[in-house]
Symmetry: C2
Subunit: 344 residues, 2 copies
């Protein structure tokens, strides 16, 4: 009972182990009758091949690992759902691994690759802090998903699925400006951030300038510390900081929906009404942005498509393609009740 192996199956069926192996792995050259017999016995005894022995022998492991940075980001839940089912439908196993905000995911990836001989990796979330050197050490195909590429690194060494953060941020900024907002505060990630945070700021700044509007330094709020900077809590704290500066503003652009929620909370606590006194915009297009009160104006990321494309790209690489692609998806404004047109 304790260990029940292929040998036991073979013995009980009166055949050799290789025959059993053939039955398990759907090899063509096996007598259908014997095969049926074996499979029935396997079913009866509830036998399952030892995966360690299997991967040891085959020196390959049909497994895709998803390394997720920020498991509390609801944006990823759909994606995981889709990715998992896509992976399983291709008869690959699926590993989900949470990476801490202070961990280097390439190191985690490297360990998994060496230890488990997996076939591919999806890096989900986090910001782009990888050096070209480190990316090159990854010996299996991988795709960066919802992680904006860095211009500093040769794009040919990695595949990425993302939106154009600069463009989408500009889109939102345009929208706010069209509503006559001129004094727009923005809640950002860390000052040193070179990824999502920086890109979204860039789109904001460009658009402001394009419209001849000045970006007031005092209305730019950077995050500090570690942990999940895109959280409600951080949005809440940043907004309190903003309010304490005493500067006038008519709109807040939070670079995530969750930050926007925290921001609205802080505003309400301070006795301000949204959108009557202040308009607040988010980014991501989470469900909660619709269900929040007021519903939040946001940029919707096409998560389903992005998840599917992530897997598609990954499998193309696994199947031998050697051209890394950077797929940029288009977001869209979802108008909520957290923003309003003010007098110009």
């Amino acid at each position: 009972m304790e260990k029940y192996t292929i040998k036991d199956i073979a013995k009980e069926c009166g055949v050799g182990v290789s025959t059993v192996s053939r039955a398990i792995n759907n090899h063509p050259d096996i007598n259908p009758h014997t095969k049926k017999l074996i499979l029935e016995k396997i079913e009866e005894k509830n036998y399952r091949p030892n995966s360690s022995a299997r991967t040891l022998k085959k020196m390959e492991n049909n497994t895709i690992a998803v390394l997720i940075k920020g498991i509390s980001n609801p944006l990823f839940h759909y994606m995981i759902d889709i990715i998992q089912s896509e992976v399983l439908s291709k008869d690959y196993a699926f590993i989900l691994k949470k990476v801490g905000f202070d961990e280097d995911e390439t190191i985690v990836a490297d360990e998994i690759i060496r230890e488990q001989k997996i076939k591919g990796i999806v890096f989900l979330g986090g910001i782009f802090t990888h050096t070209e050197e480190r990316l090159k050490t990854l010996t299996v195909p991988f795709v960066l998903s919802t992680i904006s590429p860095s211009k500093a690194i040769d794009g040919r060494v990695y595949s990425a699925i993302s939106i154009d953060d600069v463009r989408e941020s500009a889109r939102m900024t345009e929208y706010l400006i069209k509503l006559n907002h001129k004094k727009i505060a923005i809640l950002l990630a860390k000052k040193e951030d070179v990824s999502v945070g920086y890109l979204r700021y860039q789109g904001f700044e460009e658009t402001m300038k394009k419209h001849g509007l000045k970006v007031d330094e005092d209305l730019i709020i950077y995050s500090e510390g570690d942990g999940d900077l895109f959280s409600m809590e951080n949005g809440y704290n940043l907004t309190k900081q903003l309010l304490s500066r005493g500067k006038e503003f008519t709109a807040i652009f939070a670079i995530s929906d969750r930050m926007a929620i925290g921001s609205i909370k802080a505003l309400i606590e301070a006795g301000k009404k949204v959108p009557e006194d202040v308009s607040v915009a988010g980014f991501d297009g989470l469900d909660i942005s619709y269900y929040y009160n007021p519903s939040i104006t946001t940029i919707r990321q096409p998560v389903e498509e992005m998840a599917k494309e992530t897997i598609k790209q990954l499998f193309m690489l696994i199947k031998g393609s050697d051209t890394n692609k950077h797929m940029i998806f288009e977001g869209s404004i979802v108008e909520g009740n957290s923003t309003r047109k003010i007098r110009g």
Copy 2:
């Protein structure tokens, strides 16, 4: 480069493989000098032992698997965080596996056990639909976490960490009644539910009766269909159903915070104000219940403690304990602005 094994290390160091193995596994009987030499070489070559070979040889895999049903439930994110770090701190590996709502997690567990020879399992979330028979097939220690035990099954065959859903639900009902609410609608899971959904209804019903209040059949809304019934979307739909019945009510008790959010959304859309026209209460104590507008009155589950206790129990079982425990944690009311006192 492609495959770099313990043999290569041994060869390059001019020692035998067993010596290398001893160095890796911190065996006592090894010359410190040789050990240092070997470890340096390992570092230099970035060698990592093949985990398949390892577990195959040892026929054991120091791994804990968490099978999570409902990855979008934020309640679980903290727990996973804590569980993962607790597990890793004990030098066990950690596997996270998402189980679909329509999947039988005991079957998934069984597969992992047989294939991967893991040491223990945490079932996180979902409802208790396991038969005693199936639970007994599980050959490794496991703990049901945040899953309310079923009275129908001999408690000695499994360990469980949970709150007392009946008691906590009663607690919330008491609270609403104290605010003079008499016509309370309740949003539930499926009618056939024998787990969380049923237990929370039971606490509600008992408390209503205790106070001589009648439970109006028309104010009980059951969910239908599959998928995540505790979601915002479902709360939204159930509330629309409730409203369409045209019955009078002054409060809604949603059995999850997310349902409560959906519920409030539906009420607002219908032109009702929360809490002025209708009070809404949730259950779970998610962060969002604080950040929502209005903040939501809810029952806080002590997730940190529960997560820690889950792992503690699991490891006690792994270490040889054979007494299954059912730890019941106490929740607490968190008063928000979604409920108010009405005239008695």
